[in-house]
């Protein structure tokens, strides 16, 4: 039996190649424009790391063929409660534990409701999004100063550095990669996403996988919430509100079908998140207005998805 040819493998790496091209373009444009690329890189990491964390965990849910619309609200609530815990105790460790713990509890509630009521996870997350958004307003009303909940910036400044953020991200990606690739969880999740009926008749427990996926995703949400406080210690009702959409774009941009299934990959999330970050910086260096920038982004987005899906197009025998 032969092996996959390079031509057959290329679509799987199209998004990584895309990221490399964007990195090269970033340095070229930076050199031409005489921009401060080091400062720009720091901005890219700061912008991308939270999306990458949340998206990496969300890959487990997307792989199942489902999606979580409450990611942003869950990140916001976790960050708010984490910040309030810090303000009450003055401990960064407790803030970290509360961020992750709250996210895990929310993930567990989501998936348990889905399991008990036999609903797709997506459905419970729709309800959860409304509840959490309202909860954020209540929390800010109870404990905030005006419309915000603040942590003193100088208290978190020691952690507001790139090596720490990259360490958190790499550690979490490594954990997710380990679970996704080396344990049965990833294989089984891919099967559920590809064919729920076949998965069930192959002995895979869909409900159990749903709960596991939600919990893993919740850890990413908790870490994202923690880094959100570190980077922007003044929290409002809009904190992390765009994360849900950013995660979808990052995952698709990273070459993973949003319908999940066998072609899902952990690295899609981080590749997609950083591709978006580099693209935004390139547009900024080129002084492209947001209108042109959005259009160019959209065109590149379509191109990457087109190439990534190329492996499935026109290659199928009729039977």
């Amino acid at each position: 039996m032969g092996k996959q040819t390079w031509k057959e493998r290329i679509p799987a790496f199209a998004s990584v190649l895309g990221l490399l091209v964007l990195i090269a373009a970033y340095y070229i444009v930076g050199a031409v424009r005489d921009a401060n690329v080091a400062y720009g890189l720091k901005a890219i990491v700061n912008q991308s790391v939270v999306v990458a964390l949340v998206a990496t965990g969300a890959v487990f849910i997307y792989t199942l063929g489902s999606f979580d619309i409450s990611l942003g609200a869950a990140t916001g609530v976790s960050a708010l409660l984490g910040a309030m815990a810090y303000n009450a105790t003055g401990s960064l460790v407790i803030m970290f534990l509360v961020c992750v713990g709250v996210a895990v509890v929310l993930g567990f509630i989501n998936s348990s409701l889905a399991s008990v009521f036999n609903l797709p996870i997506f459905v419970t997350t729709v309800a959860m999004m409304s509840v959490l958004s309202a909860f954020m307003l209540i929390l800010i009303g109870w404990n905030g100063a005006g419309d915000t909940v603040k942590v003193k910036a100088r208290d978190v400044r020691p952690l507001d550095n790139i090596p720490f953020k990259v360490f958190i991200l790499v550690s979490y990606i490594a954990l997710c990669w380990f679970i996704f690739t080396l344990l049965p969880t990833g294989r089984e999740a891919k099967f559920i996403g590809g064919s729920p009926v076949c998965a069930r008749l192959s002995g895979i427990n869909e409900k159990k996988l749903g709960i596991i996926a939600s919990l893993i995703s919740a850890v990413g949400i908790g870490l994202g919430a923690f880094l959100t406080i570190i980077y922007a210690p003044t929290l409002t009702k809009d904190t992390a509100s765009s994360i849900g959409m950013d995660v979808i774009i990052a995952i698709v941009f990273g070459g993973m079908p949003v319908s999940g299934g066998p072609r899902s990959r952990i690295l899609s999330a981080v590749v997609g998140a950083f591709s978006m970050g580099f693209m935004t910086q390139i547009m900024s260096m080129l002084n492209l207005g947001s209108g042109y920038g959005q259009m160019i982004k959209a065109a590149i987005f379509l191109l990457v998805v087109f190439i990534a899906l190329g492996s499935q197009r026109g290659k199928l025998l009729t039977r």
């Binding site: 080396l182 294989r187 099967f191 076949c198 008749l201 192959s202 199928l316 025998l317």
Partner: protein, 495 residues
């Protein structure tokens, strides 16, 4: 007389796989032309090009002497060539009527621009009546129909267009005897009207009975043609597989045999159309379940795997009861569904993923799945079952029916299942693969596994089983032992 359809020098490749090479074919008015060949020989590729599903790389097709370049399957159907495809061709989320008139809803628009569902369903009723499918309601969602009913909807969808050429691609495997006879009548009526039928089947007896001429394909080439007066089983088989068939087709022994140990026991299963069904399958036994398509045997297969909704009864293996597929799998029970493409395989996934998913616990080393071990595990199944593929990363959707079925077998055999429930295990596979599957099932028996075959093919049940339970109306009517199975008597209990 001129041929109604001519194909000349047709080539078609899918990546590195050559599907058709220099194919020439003539189809004549008033002819039922059989196409036969092993899985992957090119039959479906050839007919799908004729029916506008895909394009040839090279060659020429003429229909009524004119160049034939249909833009799509619907275009081909509207211009005289319709095809009933091998796999499911209906959309589950819409109604029967909407399936029948897919892309033609404008026909049913009122002056206000609204689609009249009533008018559409009225026309659908007429189309279904033409093929005598009176029991199918036009307003029913296609997802609620069983495999046979969905096939009949596809037949109606094609027949309503009154095609000049009807292509039937292994459709009869999804139909009961009644459904088959209905289709044969339609084919005969087309023939009498001077139209033509291209008929693909792996059932040699059926193809000999139905077809006037027979064309054999192998490895994408036309090998030979047979006319009805020259039909010869051995010659046809030899030309199909390129060699004489070696060894026994079914089991060689004629006496029933099994070991003492009961590996699968069902007690008073009731619900989902089953009534008080009890059975035991012992180690080293092949138990057959036969009956008409709607007798409940397919539900029984699911119930024995813990995946049917029952109101009563228990299933156990090795003394341990189970009621869901996860538990059944963990206890060493495997299930091959009749609906291979939707229930037994994940089409988008690779051969590797589909085989490995059943045996993850065997692949794991200290709880970890290492790629090297996984590759070796999958390779072992691919070699043992002679699965034809370019590499194990190939998606199963790109494989022929027989090879897909081998992948399903590989999933459960690799998992070390001691009990195998096989629902129509040879549906849509060619004669060569069938033989190798029968040999494999015999090997499973000799290894002491318990095998349960649910089948609508009487010859298969008689040829392979130690015991046969005949079902009717959800209940077991009669038990036959190997050596005592007589077709006429079995049929008496079926109907």
């Amino acid at each position: 007389m001129e041929p109604i359809l001519t194909v000349r020098s047709m080539d078609k490749s899918f990546g590195a796989t050559v599907a058709l090479r220099q194919v020439d074919l003539d189809v004549w008015p008033g002819e039922i032309r059989g196409l036969i060949g092993e899985n992957g020989s090119g039959k479906s590729t050839l007919t799908s090009i004729i029916a506008g599903i895909q394009k040839a790389d090279a060659g020429e097709i003429r229909f009524h002497g004119q160049p034939w370049h249909p833009a799509s399957m619907i275009d081909a159907l509207n211009h005289g060539i319709g095809m009933i495809v091998q796999e499911t061709g209906t959309i589950p989320g819409i109604t029967v009527a909407e399936n029948l008139f897919l892309g033609e809803s404008d026909r049913f628009r009122s002056s206000l621009g609204l689609v009249s569902r009533r008018a559409m369903e009225r026309e659908a009723r007429k189309a279904l009546d033409v093929i005598h499918a009176d029991h199918i309601r036009p307003g029913t969602p296609a997802a609620m129909l069983d495999l046979q009913e969905r096939k009949l909807v596809e037949v109606a969808k094609v027949m309503v267009k009154k095609p000049e050429i009807l292509v039937v691609d292994e459709t009869t495997t999804a139909l009961s005897q009644k459904g088959r006879e209905l289709l044969y009548q339609l084919m005969e009526s087309l023939k009498k009207e001077g139209k033509a039928v291209i008929f693909i089947s792996h059932d040699l007896d059926e193809i000999k009975q139905v077809c006037d001429t027979l064309t054999v394909l192998r490895d994408g080439r036309i090998i030979t043609h047979f006319s009805r007066e020259n039909y010869d089983d051995d010659a046809i088989k030899t030309s199909m597989i390129g060699r004489e068939m070696q060894g026994d087709y079914y089991r060689a022994d004629s006496e029933p045999s099994w070991q003492e140990q009961v590996l699968l026991k069902a007690d008073r299963l009731t619900g989902s159309g089953l009534h008080d069904v009890s059975l035991e399958v012992r180690a080293g036994e092949i138990l057959g379940i036969g009956g008409l398509s709607e007798c409940g045997m397919h539900t029984l297969g699911k119930a024995l795997f813990g995946s049917a909704m029952l109101t009563g009864g228990t299933v156990e293996t090795g003394g341990k009861a189970y009621s869901d597929p996860g538990h059944a799998t963990a206890l060493g029970v495997g299930y091959v569904s009749k609906e291979r493409d939707t229930e037994s395989l994940c089409q988008q996934a690779s051969i590797r993923d589909n085989i490995a998913i059943g045996g993850l616990k065997h692949i794991q080393m200290k709880k970890l799945i290492l790629k090297k071990r996984e590759t070796a595990y999958v390779q072992k199944q691919v070699d043992a079952l002679s699965i034809k593929c370019r590499h194990m990363e190939q998606p199963v959707s790109a494989m022929s029916g027989g090879n897909k079925q081998k992948v399903v077998f590989g999933k459960w055999l690799g998992a070390g299942s001691r009990v195998l429930i096989l629902d129509c295990p040879t549906r849509g596979v060619d004669i060569g693969v069938k033989q190798s599957m029968y040999q494999l099932i015999t090997k499973m028996k000799n290894e002491g596994r318990a095998v349960l075959i649910i089948s609508e093919e009487m010859a298969e049940l008689i040829g392979m089983c130690d015991r046969l339970l005949v079902m009717k109306d959800g209940a077991v009517q009669k038990e036959f032992l190997r050596g005592q199975m007589r077709e006429a008597e079995i049929i008496r209990y079926m109907i």
